[in-house]
Symmetry: D3
Subunit: 239 residues, 6 copies
Amino acid sequence: MARPDDRATDQLRPVTIQRGWLDHAEGSVLIEFGGTRVLCAASVQDSVPRWRRDSGLGWVTAEYAMLPRATNTRNDRESVKGRLGGRTHEISRLIGRSLRAAIDFKALGENTVQLDCDVLQADGGTRTAAITGAYVALADAVTWMREKGWVKGDPFITSVAAISVGVVDGQPRLDLCYEEDVAAETDMNVVCTGDGRFVEVQGTAEGQPFDRSELDALLDLAAGGCADLTRLQKEALAS
Amino acid sequence: MARPDDRATDQLRPVTIQRGWLDHAEGSVLIEFGGTRVLCAASVQDSVPRWRRDSGLGWVTAEYAMLPRATNTRNDRESVKGRLGGRTHEISRLIGRSLRAAIDFKALGENTVQLDCDVLQADGGTRTAAITGAYVALADAVTWMREKGWVKGDPFITSVAAISVGVVDGQPRLDLCYEEDVAAETDMNVVCTGDGRFVEVQGTAEGQPFDRSELDALLDLAAGGCADLTRLQKEALAS
Amino acid sequence: MARPDDRATDQLRPVTIQRGWLDHAEGSVLIEFGGTRVLCAASVQDSVPRWRRDSGLGWVTAEYAMLPRATNTRNDRESVKGRLGGRTHEISRLIGRSLRAAIDFKALGENTVQLDCDVLQADGGTRTAAITGAYVALADAVTWMREKGWVKGDPFITSVAAISVGVVDGQPRLDLCYEEDVAAETDMNVVCTGDGRFVEVQGTAEGQPFDRSELDALLDLAAGGCADLTRLQKEALAS
Amino acid sequence: MARPDDRATDQLRPVTIQRGWLDHAEGSVLIEFGGTRVLCAASVQDSVPRWRRDSGLGWVTAEYAMLPRATNTRNDRESVKGRLGGRTHEISRLIGRSLRAAIDFKALGENTVQLDCDVLQADGGTRTAAITGAYVALADAVTWMREKGWVKGDPFITSVAAISVGVVDGQPRLDLCYEEDVAAETDMNVVCTGDGRFVEVQGTAEGQPFDRSELDALLDLAAGGCADLTRLQKEALAS
Amino acid sequence: MARPDDRATDQLRPVTIQRGWLDHAEGSVLIEFGGTRVLCAASVQDSVPRWRRDSGLGWVTAEYAMLPRATNTRNDRESVKGRLGGRTHEISRLIGRSLRAAIDFKALGENTVQLDCDVLQADGGTRTAAITGAYVALADAVTWMREKGWVKGDPFITSVAAISVGVVDGQPRLDLCYEEDVAAETDMNVVCTGDGRFVEVQGTAEGQPFDRSELDALLDLAAGGCADLTRLQKEALAS
Amino acid sequence: MARPDDRATDQLRPVTIQRGWLDHAEGSVLIEFGGTRVLCAASVQDSVPRWRRDSGLGWVTAEYAMLPRATNTRNDRESVKGRLGGRTHEISRLIGRSLRAAIDFKALGENTVQLDCDVLQADGGTRTAAITGAYVALADAVTWMREKGWVKGDPFITSVAAISVGVVDGQPRLDLCYEEDVAAETDMNVVCTGDGRFVEVQGTAEGQPFDRSELDALLDLAAGGCADLTRLQKEALAS
């Protein structure tokens, strides 16, 4: 069964990472995973939230949102509805946790980086594109802080990247587009560090429950995809 | 390194499942995993949400909440704050998805079961206790519906149970209590069907990222724990 | 006309008061008035709200809520609706005022006790059960504070207990169950001190307005019921 | 101990009732109890709320609010805060219940009257002025409906009026102004029908609990005050 | 084409300005433009908002609201809906900006005046009546502050007044009543200083776009109307 | 006094209009006025809001929002705050009104176009860029509807474009950038039709009130700027 865009089962969609897409943000990236397009902005503050003060430790946090017409049919704005939906909350928390895994908060000092990931267009994998792009924006923001002398050493323990995997038509596949995502029996989002360890594994049976061998196959695919993305992040940061 | 309550690493805390704890609900269970105590109530309706009408299919949904003094220090009520927190949203969605994996919606017919999981006391593992107890409450509600003739066949494809696992002091452990939970390097919640397949796998590196061998060890522990819980659910339903 | 459970018109339903129902709260009580079951938790803080600071005076406040399936048909959660209903507000305020009548705030010092009254099951009289149980939880919390040395003397001026009364089928009755409550022409909630004086009298004509003689009969019944509850509170605290 | 305005203990403040204060409302009254000034508007609809449809019965409901500078110091608007306070909720419910006691809903037919009571200036007794004025506005709105042929017979069972009473300096007094209200040991609001029966009795010990004899004295004062107000309502409606 | 009330096209409706309508507010005005009736209250504080502290500068701000039955059909309360509408926001901001144009904040010192403009009855032009009345209330509040010694010099640079103009039936008209307002092709609100300069010009094509000559005619009318209002404000303040 | 970017006082910043920036929306434009970058998406529906049904008339509405890091310092999200700010409300309403002036609703038929204008980067003039871009997105959406046969004739009466003007350092200038906007004494937004008439004129004195001659100079500048934008819109739609 061929994929909608004829990719190999272990092949990423075309990935582009444009740094410096915004003039004001200390770090900003427009990242594309195929038709998915996410604007990631990093904003720095030389202070930390109240509950973290006088700890000597920094903080990284994230917010995720989608423009109303990012998708095929328009979604009402959460600002107009007056409340955040559960999905938004959940993904914002996931992005924040994932990026925090890359950071030594002692080395960051009492500074905060706020990551805003706004989906301009959605075609599956928005949360994984957001994490992958937010890492690059965070890296640029940290460079900005080191240049200003806010941060002395290197606060990065590792890098992080994320990819979705899933079982479609009984076949494990990497980096599902929207059409595959809605058809998937199992859907998993995996966040890895640059050295191939896991930060988050979130697998959900959408249709049939999955057994251990399917889980293993998906983890293998995801580890490979994250390694590819780690390489692309490095290239983007080197350019 | 001994566990706080001297359990073996693959041993559950004492589990009690009291059915019929409420007079009015069509199914109700007070479930305890050690000091964690969750009241699960199943409410039935002979209709489905608007978006599901005339589909011939039923629906199962869930809401999770915690009493303000379930924990060691009091938490403000979300009703008073006027908005649900991200954690509440996330767990409610997890419980709903997990229970839906057990149900054949065609066999359920156009009926809805709403599961309310209220944590009266929290000592780690509240979401897994909620899923495990909600399954029993759902089973009782389905029996009620079959007795009333609302449902003809058996809508259960399988049962579901859930448990937390984690790496504490470098050691993979089953069913973390609160003290272990806050100390865990990795924390994973696993939902399994009665026949040992996976419905949800949600692993998070709290401290160090985890490698594949740790992940494998945690999955093994969780599968064993869920099998124990499946047996306890059967016993409770048989009594 | 016999009562649904064949009680005498001046007879309380079976009352049980279980202290220490929660492990963490400084005071906690599960109180039952027949089928009505309310969990009362007292949480202490060694500070007072901002508007009370540096007054040398303590504070006692309360919040009341009902689990969604406490009643015969499920009610939507106020946390999900995003706002507190008028009834919840009103009862929370009543409980707070009632308990404050028992306390000498100077003797309490600049400490706060927050009382959470959560109705696990409702069969009429939830607010009166909440007040009666909250007093016992408050007493245990004060004992805890005295043991810690937060409070030196005895901050209790008196005890408080509460009961509902009403006119059903033309007959004044004590402690209405739900079935009687919906049928009552007049419904009154009365809060008394341990020495038989009134803290709150809230009478409402649900159907016919009531005259002075009916009012007098209801007040007599309520005073007797509160005296019985005062005795049961003492027994519970002595055990 | 003389009262601030030298009134007798059983004497009302000057009461004025101006009908037709608004051009658009089907009934409208500007009522003054001394310095307390409440604008009561009655709006009619030839339909009832959804839960009341096809019952043949009408409905009366009320909302109470206070302008931000009705009081000595400015209060923030509830519309700006985004939520109604408990006090507002409580008084709105009280006004609605009180007025409904005057109406035969069958005779009203499937029509609704919405009563809006907005406090323009507050000097104690705003809720009782609101009830007393709302009755007159309701009477005018019913006349309007009868003239239009929406209502055939007379839907009034009785009239309603309300007054506050309290114990100040150990002395039971009628119709407390703000200065007396804040000094009161006991504060009671009483709603009576035109024939002297009780619709609501809400007594609260602000300082000392009160005994039965104080309660009796307050009820006597209130009954007298409501009789005076009933007469003033009649005069206003006759003019 | 005659106007509904036979006014000349450049004629204001009868204007009344009653000062001191409230006992508590430092300045208060009940202003009427024909059937439009707005209560303007000025509340003073001897402090400024946090973002303005230690600037040596004062602040003036405003809130606009409408009672539910100010209009021909009842509008739901924004406090009950839990959010301010766009129109309310917009007009509140307009009033605040307009009044601030009259004030030298240095001369006001670190004091704040809050202007509350509540529409008791609406017949077109509520925002312009609000601005015109609020100026008088502000003037009285400033006098109060000068008497108390909070303010030394004269903080008024100028006065402000506002009027609506519009094109109805192809004819430019001053001070539209509601009937004209809904029929207007173009609707403009203009705020002028006492010396005839412009503070705000807000013109909107409701039907046909307008050309420069229509715009000029409307501005001429508005300038004349504001001059009339300036004179009436002076008379009111002199009385 | 030279402008920050050395433009002539009557010169627009570089304007770019990219059509089809989104894959899913029926019309979409990324418009840039210098550093200001707004994504305008048009979404169509073959129905109208409830209050407009069975009128034979269509509807056009708009929502404006700004990404949190569009500006120099980050702004909190309105979705997280749970309420829309007054500025957002005001601009959304302005955009909707402006676009509706271009449309013959009878020719549009009972179809709705929703315009979403999201500011990705802000450097002054975001609302005018939004209106100018939204017109082009609306034109594309109308073409889409005509191709689908939803719309038969041409619903466009005219085109609309908008520009800001202001007095900076005593000098009237066209198309203010952020640096000029904060320094402006007077700030005006003008919306014109393609044939040079006015749809909206919103002028505000930020510092000094303005006189008629300044107003005239600003209107002249704005009319010229809108004519330039009209030409650029035509070119973009022709390409």
